[in-house]
Symmetry: C2
Subunit: 248 residues, 2 copies
């Protein structure tokens, strides 16, 4: 299978990392729109336009499937991307929702969704989770998390103060915490520490690979995956990060 | 005079506010590239390309001058914008440098420059200040300041922790602090408190208007300025902020 992975920037590499660990694909084409990142603060129509442009880009390769690794694009542009594409398009939001379905037996489980402003405003996670019968939902736009990660700040007093800023009104730790942005898994350790071991963290990048593994019949594992990286700006920087992060 | 003001987003409205206070111009056309903001984390070539596109946009109006309100664009794209434009182009960085010249008599004054990653990497302020004979220069990319302002966080423990994060190695307060980004004046009060009254804050938006007032002979004041606002995304949001902020 030849897979396209789209993200607004480099965050979607976490999804590629999960894909490589599961050895499912022969070829992965990654495209990061680094010239226009971040999407999380942008307007719905702009996000849709950028999503369609990514589909057009992927038409240069004969893909079997496009994975939208960006939560914001998945929340807003999936229908429009599907209309433009000539292959299936799957987004991380649906995968995150299915992961909740699979791992939370109690429909009264208390779920806290974290995302960018655009993802939270879309209510995409809430709508999907309500359709599955979950009722105890809360969402927070944690706008500082992406810049914190991009500043390489993963722990310490700035993180502690930021968590208190966003979470001071949360009286008891949720049963599940959805990390609804590809950058957020980098704060996983501190979030787990803050909320305690009771809270189960849902990582949408990992969820999408598990989802695909269940949905599609993979006849064989691919220990070697061919990888190609494209970026709308500074592709060398993206390749450098990819090589370090993915150990390739 | 008919003036174009360009910024990557809404931050340049602080420059318009200074312009209105000085009553120098008959007409101001503001263009914010809100669909692609922020520029401060982007690549040099991308910033230059976006700067030239802004000049092309302004060719729709017969302008007497273009003011680049964005420090990052001023630092990287001014020469290329001047080549493309058919009117003078002035940037906030030169104005900030001239403001230091005018307000600091001692060439040994200790100057701390704050900016986005791109502005600081460009060394535009250092090069200009060194040309004027200043030698005691230090620069810091304070990447969290823009997202903090955009999250409406202007004081409190997140700001305190962030200041300690960036400034812990600064042993004594500088004589002057250059707020090298249009967002930073919104943190002015807390920065003044952190560094103390000894430190003089240089606000590049205010500096550019003072610079123009000195350089050009304005024969009369314009108590009423015609204002037009354009944005590459969500112009209504930009107009709303402008109306609130500028009291128009």
């Amino acid at each position: 299978m030849k897979i396209g992975v789209f993200d607004s920037g480099i965050g979607g590499l976490s999804v590629v990392k999960s894909m490589l660990a599961h050895k499912l694909f022969e070829e992965i084409i990654y495209y990061g729109d680094t010239a226009r990142v971040p999407y999380g603060t942008k307007d719905k129509n702009t996000i849709i336009r950028y999503g369609i442009e990514a589909v057009e880009f992927f038409k240069n390769f004969e893909l079997d499937m496009i994975i939208v690794a960006c939560n914001t694009v998945s929340a807003y542009a999936l229908d429009e991307m599907r209309e433009s594409a000539d292959c299936p398009v799957i987004g991380v939001v649906e995968a995150g929702i299915l992961a909740c379905k699979n791992s939370l037996e109690d429909k009264n489980s208390d779920i806290l969704i974290l995302g960018t402003k655009a993802t939270v405003n879309s209510k995409a996670y809430e709508i999907g989770l309500q359709d599955l019968g979950f009722t105890n939902l809360n969402a927070k736009a944690t706008g500082l998390f992406v810049p914190l990660v991009e500043e390489d700040i993963f722990s310490g007093e700035v993180i502690d103060a930021t968590f208190r800023h966003y979470f001071s009104d949360i009286k008891s730790s949720p049963d599940a915490l959805i990390l609804g942005c590809t950058h957020f898994p980098l704060l996983e350790a501190e979030l787990q520490k803050y909320f305690g071991e009771k809270t189960q963290l849902i990582h949408s990048g990992e969820a999408i690979v598990e989802h695909m593994e269940k949905e599609f019949s993979f006849t064989k594992k691919h220990p070697k995956t061919s990888l190609k990286f494209f970026a709308s700006e500074n592709p060398e920087a993206l390749k450098r990060v990819a090589h370090n992060w993915l150990n390739i």
